[in-house]
């Protein structure tokens, strides 16, 4: 048994000859909140469909809990809870009956329904028909449904899609406390980096069907190094002068930036500028946001 809860090898899905997902190697550890990030249409949902056995991979394998999905689908799915894209529900039934319809298939005790309703705080609304629910409540019901079978792995595809800020916060808090309280591993997808940044400890970034980054969130943050932005008179000459004195500076015809070094180095750099009679208007730290890194990685196509 490998240490990975979810492991895919060269997972590929072709639709109409075009590879929607190609060579994706997902690795999710136990207890992870794994953020699966990518712009719309990058192949996130298709990958998740394959993880749940809803779509068959054209090529490659999926292993969950150390077993191959294609062989032991039912045993694996018994331990997986999922919410794919917008939540599914039977609008004419109450929340309670919706959960009951799923409970009868999972064969778990009836008391689980009240428990999961409690977790997503829908107990008071449980006897109302779901078609009258707000989107946030439907999402919460979807999460409750996913939790019904006491899963060890929770797959949530864009759980905060279309929610207002309060709803997003609520779902995020729910997701964050789940690994501690219920001991589950979570795969959560989103096209919003800020979302993932706030809850995930590991991140996979996918774009145009290819995985371009997969590591701890920390590693991604380290790439967001700060730079010093210098506003001076005659920046081009200043750039040449600073380069000649051995400073690492960049000139992109608009901005003069220097790599962030220690305070002393910044001070000597400014001193050099002053000595050479450049007027220094501003010296400011510019921290590249994660969004920018994401945009650079995905070739600027991200819808953020």
């Amino acid at each position: 048994m490998s240490k990975w809860i979810v492991e895919t090898n060269q997972l590929t899905k072709k639709l109409g000859g075009k590879a929607v997902v190609s060579d994706v190697n997902l690795r999710i550890k136990e207890g992870d909140i794994y953020g699966f990030l990518g712009p719309n249409g990058a192949g996130k949902t298709t990958t998740i469909r394959m993880l749940l056995g809803l779509a068959k991979p054209t090529y490659g394998h999926v292993h969950i809990f150390g077993h191959e999905l294609a062989r032991k689908r039912i045993e694996i799915l018994r331990k997986v809870g999922s919410l794919v894209e917008y939540p599914s529900f039977y609008g004419h039934l109450t929340a309670y009956d919706n959960l009951e319809a799923v409970r009868r298939l999972l064969d778990v005790p009836r008391s689980r329904i009240d428990q999961v309703l409690e977790v997503v705080r829908l107990t008071k609304e449980a006897r109302r028909a779901v078609k009258g629910y707000s989107l946030g409540m439907k999402q919460r019901l979807g999460i409750a449904t996913a939790l019904l079978g006491q899963p060890q792995l929770l797959v949530l595809d864009e759980p905060t899609n279309g929610l207002d800020p309060a709803g997003i916060l609520e779902i995020r808090e729910l997701i964050k406390r789940m690994p501690q309280e219920h001991g589950v591993t979570i795969l959560v997808s989103s096209h919003l980096l800020s979302e993932i940044d706030q809850m995930a400890n590991r991140v996979g970034i996918i774009t145009k069907g290819k995985m371009i980054f997969q590591d701890e969130t920390q590693v991604l943050r380290q790439q967001a190094r700060s730079r010093i932005q210098l506003a001076v008179s005659e920046p081009e000459e200043a750039w040449r002068m600073l380069l000649a004195h051995g400073y690492h500076v960049d000139w992109d015809r608009q901005q003069l930036t220097a790599e962030l070094t220690d305070d002393k180095a910044v001070a000597t750099m400014v001193a050099a500028l002053v000595q050479h009679e450049f007027a220094v208007y501003r010296v400011q730290e510019e921290s590249a946001s994660l969004e920018q890194i994401f945009l650079n990685m995905t070739g600027g196509e991200g819808s953020l």
Binding site: R49, I74, E75, V80, S88, F89, Y90
Partner: protein
């Protein structure tokens, strides 16, 4: 499988499905009540030596098209519950076998129609009593045959409609097939013996209704297996 059927029965709650199950037989019996009520003397005179047989014959002529259209509508409604909110992905990501889900839908459908047919039988008896036919002369065997034999012979049509309704998100297609099927089925007795739409009429060259029933059960099971296989291999949207 019990869980799946229990879940299906819960899901059709509040969807007018049971209403339709009752409406079919009640409608047929009421129409026959009008028929016999208005032409009581003429009809009782015509069927004088076999009053019950005459009543059953009349009920069956109306019951067949009702059964055929009922098959299409109920199949579409049962599948529509999943299509409406695209609940297939949630249902099939649960630890249940795909073929069992398909079989569950088909079983529910057969069960609902069985209830309908049984109501038809009870309704025919009730109408006979109301019309004052002799209770001692009830041909129970023939009545049961004429209600349940067409039901069994129509099994392939049931599976076909369930399959179409499940496979296609757009219910216009299966409903069209069902409606055309009903019209074709009304003239079913004129077709060759191999046409499934003829089987519910229980007419064949050998003059043995059980042949039609056997064909129905046989083809029904074959179609069910093919449908289960196809559904199990399909990607879910």
């Amino acid at each position: 499988m019990r869980g799946i059927l229990a879940s299906e029965l819960l899901k059709i709650r509040g969807k007018m499905v049971w209403f339709l199950v009752v409406l079919g037989p009640v409608g047929v019996i009421l129409l026959q009540a009008v028929n016999f009520g208005l032409r009581y003397d003429y009809l009782t005179d015509q069927y004088a030596d076999d009053l019950w047989g005459g009543l059953i014959g009349n009920v069956v002529t109306l019951a067949l098209p009702t059964l055929l259209i009922g098959i299409a509508i109920l199949a579409s409604m049962a599948a529509g519950i999943e299509h409406q909110t695209n609940a297939w992905k949630q249902l099939l990501a649960l630890p249940v076998s795909r073929s069992a889900v398909f079989a569950g839908k088909a079983l529910l459908h057969v069960l609902l129609l069985f209830v309908s047919c049984t109501l038809m039988l009870i309704g025919t008896l009730a109408l006979g009593f109301v019309l004052g036919f002799d209770a001692g002369a009830i041909p129970y065997g023939r009545l049961a045959e004429l209600v349940y034999y067409p039901f069994l012979a129509a099994l392939p049509l049931m599976v076909l409609q369930v399959w179409l309704s499940i496979t296609m998100a757009n219910q216009a297609v299966p409903l069209t097939v069902g409606i055309i099927g009903m019209i074709v089925g009304m003239f079913g007795s004129r077709f060759d013996d191999w046409v499934p739409y003829k089987w519910p009429h229980l007419i064949n060259a050998a003059g043995e209704p059980l042949y039609s029933v056997a064909c129905g059960i046989g083809l029904g099971v074959v179609l069910l297996l093919i449908g289960m296989l196809q559904f199990a291999g399909k990607d879910v949207k």
